[in-house]
């Protein structure tokens, strides 16, 4: 697992192994009044509706972690939120496994929820991760993100 963060306000983890959202949150949670959390899991079907064997996640080590830190920093500042946690899987994932966890703490629920949502969207479009769906022994790289 690679974990980086410049200070206590942002924590980024890239993990090659399955993780527990509850354990990750318990280790990270502070005393802010509001927390918002998003959990993303592997679907059981491919985009074409076929049964998914596995989802492969590739990333660009180094740039990926720095980009996540930068995106989290920008979104915290933009929304006036306090802290952010991003945990993202890489490697081979099975249906139902967690792909991503994004959590944000703030003083108010509105900015916590908006910041969490915007950070997730920023991550999906601006962080160098790539998904490949495996079905019947054939791998297909996805060419874009699923709709919001």
């Amino acid at each position: 697992m690679v974990e980086i963060g410049q200070d206590d306000s942002i924590r980024v983890q890239i993990r090659p192994d399955p993780f527990s959202a509850f354990e990750a949150l318990e280790c990270w949670a502070g005393a802010a009044a509001a927390s918002a959390v998003f959990l993303g899991r592997v679907r059981p079907q491919t985009l074409d509706g076929e049964p998914l064997q596995a989802l492969e996640l590739q990333h660009y080590p180094g740039l990926c972690e720095r980009q996540l830190l930068q995106l989290a920093r920008e979104q915290l500042q933009h929304h006036g939120a306090i802290r952010a946690l991003v945990v993202h899987r890489v490697g081979t994932l099975l249906p139902g496994e967690l792909i991503v966890l994004v959590a944000v703490e703030a003083d108010r629920r509105g900015c916590a929820q908006r910041c969490c949502s915007d950070l997730l969207e920023a991550l999906k479009h601006q962080a160098p991760f790539w998904k490949r769906e495996w079905f019947s022994g054939q791998g297909t790289w996805l060419s874009g993100n699923t709709p919001l």
């Binding site: 590739q58 740039l63 991550l123 601006q126 160098p128 991760f129 790539w130 790289w141 996805l142 060419s143």
Partner: protein, 89 residues
Amino acid sequence: MIWTLEPHQSVLASVLRVLLFASLRDRAGWEERSIPVSEAGLTAAQVWDQLELGPLESVCVAVNQELVRSDQPLRAGDELAFLPPFTGG
């Protein structure tokens, strides 16, 4: 024509390290190559054209692990990466 070096021939002072990811790796059939820098002012877009991997329009460029424009001049020793559209999260 791209000249490539074997690993034992790599000379950091005179080559670029070119990386491909995801679908671009499959399309090219390789992940990483060292490419001699033969001209001053060489850009990522010019290197891409030499690779003959299709249009650059949907591909992001990173130099030394920073996202940059494709017309950024390159220097010997740079790590140049071509990145297909991101699909994480």
